[in-house]
């Protein structure tokens, strides 16, 4: 049941991506509306599937496929919220293809869950995971917006008045959007880090050790902490912030991937049904 729903949703996203890319070339309101409706419909189907699935797993996505699926869902949910709020459908041309790329390996890849230490079965775990995913999705959108900023800035600086120049939103808009997304992502990441640390410290028989995941997460947090500070106190903005956001996103992605055991043979059992 849920596999059919997710598959349907993926098709909807795919068509939406085509609509948004067409919108990039030919700016007609019809294409933007089609994209919006398709993403909304896809999210509804996708949401039902995830709700069903996670409800059965006590609110925890299991396996890389489900993780990616949840990530794509949140990413598009954030996009839809932005689209409704700011009415800049052009962003869809960058984010819907990204969401489809995130979702596809989830449907195709096999990846298992790293065995969860027994002590970590805590009531706060669903919160920890949801916030981690939400933060990751926010950073993904911020990185996408960062790519748009870099592209637009290049056009503005080089005075190339091509298609992108006429279609992309203003630099100021993209920069402001990046600021908001990074701030929310940073808050989510911070809470994730605090709850994660709490789990490790409070779980009986679990000692702190620096594995790849915690290193990547702490480095990513440091990068974003520095970024948020530099923005507020040193007036950083624009290009370097966009580049740093993209770098930070990669680190968070590494941290996310290292939650999963990509080599586990048991992974096939945990594929999205």
């Amino acid at each position: 049941m849920s596999h059919t729903l997710v598959s349907l949703a993926c098709h909807a996203y795919g068509i939406a991506a085509v609509a948004y890319l067409a919108y990039l070339v030919r700016q007609t309101e019809l294409l933007a509306t089609a994209g919006r409706v398709l993403v909304g419909g896809g999210l509804a189907l996708h949401g039902v599937a995830l709700f069903e699935l996670l409800g059965a797993q006590s609110g925890r996505p299991v396996g890389l496929a489900q993780g990616f699926s949840a990530l794509a869902f949140l990413l598009l949910a954030i996009f839809l919220a932005l689209d409704v709020r700011y009415r800049r459908p052009v962003i869809g041309a960058f984010l819907t293809p990204l969401a489809v790329t995130v979702l596809l390996p989830g449907l195709l890849l096999e990846g298992g869950q790293a065995p969860l230490p027994p002590g970590v079965r805590q009531p706060l775990l669903p919160l920890h995971i949801s916030l981690a995913l939400l933060g990751l999705a926010a950073f993904a959108v911020a990185a996408g917006v960062g790519v748009m900023y870099i592209l637009m800035e290049r056009q503005v600086k080089a005075k190339r008045f091509g298609l992108l120049f006429s279609r992309l939103p203003s630099l100021e808009f993209l920069d402001t959007l990046n600021r908001r997304l990074v701030l929310w992502g940073f808050i989510a990441l911070s809470i994730t880090l605090v709850t994660g640390t709490l789990f490790v410290l409070t779980a009986p028989g679990l000692a702190w050790h620096w594995d790849g995941k915690s290193i990547a997460t702490v480095v990513a947090w440091t990068v974003f902490a520095a970024l948020v500070n530099a923005r507020i106190f040193a007036g950083w903005r624009g290009r370097r912030v966009a580049l740093l956001t993209m770098a930070g996103f990669c680190l968070v992605l590494v941290s996310f991937l290292s939650s999963y055991d990509l080599t586990s043979p048991a992974a096939s059992a945990m594929r999205l049904p």
Binding site: M152, V156, K157, K159, F161, F165, P169, S170, L171, E172, F173, T176, A234, G235, W236, R237, G238, R239
Partner: protein
Amino acid sequence: MELICIGLSHRTAPLTVRERLALPEARQVEVLQRLAQAPVEALWVSTCNRVEVYLAAPNAAVARQRVVEEIQALGGPEALEHLYEHQGENALVHLFRVAGSLDSMVLGEAQILGQVKDAFERGQGAGSVRGELTRACAAAFSCAKRVRTETAIGRASTSMAAAAVQLASKVFDGLRDKTVLVVGAGEMGELAARHLKGAGATKLFVTNRTLARAEALAAEVGGAARPFEELFSLLAAADVVVCSTASPVPIFTKENVGAVGKSRKGRPLFMVDLAVPRDIDPGVGSLEWVHAYDVDDIQKFVADNAAARAEEAQKAGVLVAQEVARFVKERALREGTPVLARLRQRAEAIARAEVERTLGALGDGLTEKQRKSIEAMGRAIVNKLLHEPTSRLRAVGPEGEGNRLAGAAAELFGLLEMEEAASDAATPAAVSAAAAQAATGVKR
């Protein structure tokens, strides 16, 4: 008198060459006075996109050479590579097209007519624009008026200032909460200020070397005037800067703009330079937080819009052709050339025939000297006889007597092909009246 046009424009020359030829008014007058020694007439049209000299001269080749020398002296030998030339009717067509904004960077923009008119008045003031060029300009102005009223070319027109505002919207998300600084309170500054206001700018400052002009403009568009000495403190607070001063050297350099960077905390600055020579040094754009555009960049930006107006431009081109044809015909009538030429031809033919007859009757007994004397006498009688009517026909003032006299002469001497001469109502007086109308239309 032959009309020629020599110049360079955004179509042929890069900004760096154009700005070398962009002279302050006083120097334009000097050049004009050098070029326009009677009977030569000269008009110097200088905008940020073009520098053109129009000449009416009895000997086009000599006059042309002097213009080329002037341009070389001002812009160096490099400038000569970018020159174009039009002669006779082509020069007229070009003048009409320029005044009608058909040769503009932004097709159909309304500013150019005012600029040509300013050039015309400057030429009149300097005494370099007299009868011939006055009539040509008047006809060009009336043609421009027809282009504006009879085609849609100017309707959706984006001026340079409007294009500048559009560019700003690619950096800023609206101008509502932005601080806008207009440097230079000339016509371009005024246009820019109006467009910025129209785009929602609320905090608008105007600065100008002469504070009074800044105050006048600020009062007119609803901004605040500031003395020029505050330029850099204004710059530190500004988000958008539009400059269009007549300064011969850049006002903003990488160093002095970079110096205000610290206090801005990375706040982006959008600068548009509508002036030629440039007010903003090209190096300024290399600062990370500055986005600087000059007139050539804006040309690139508006190039796309040009296609949309190509059709209207074609219609306008037909109008120009009509107006030029009319002017040429009127000029021919005014100068009475056909009448005079035919009259002289007829008289000379008669004189030649009579001289031949006389020489034939006198036989071979004449010396070479006597023969020449008789020939000279024939020519002298023709010249003496035609001197008065010739000078009278040529000297016809703007009262419109030209047609009557020419017509009368044609009738009196049986030069019958001149029928149309008397029938055309378009007299020089009518042309000047139309030009006056066109001119008031431009000044808004």
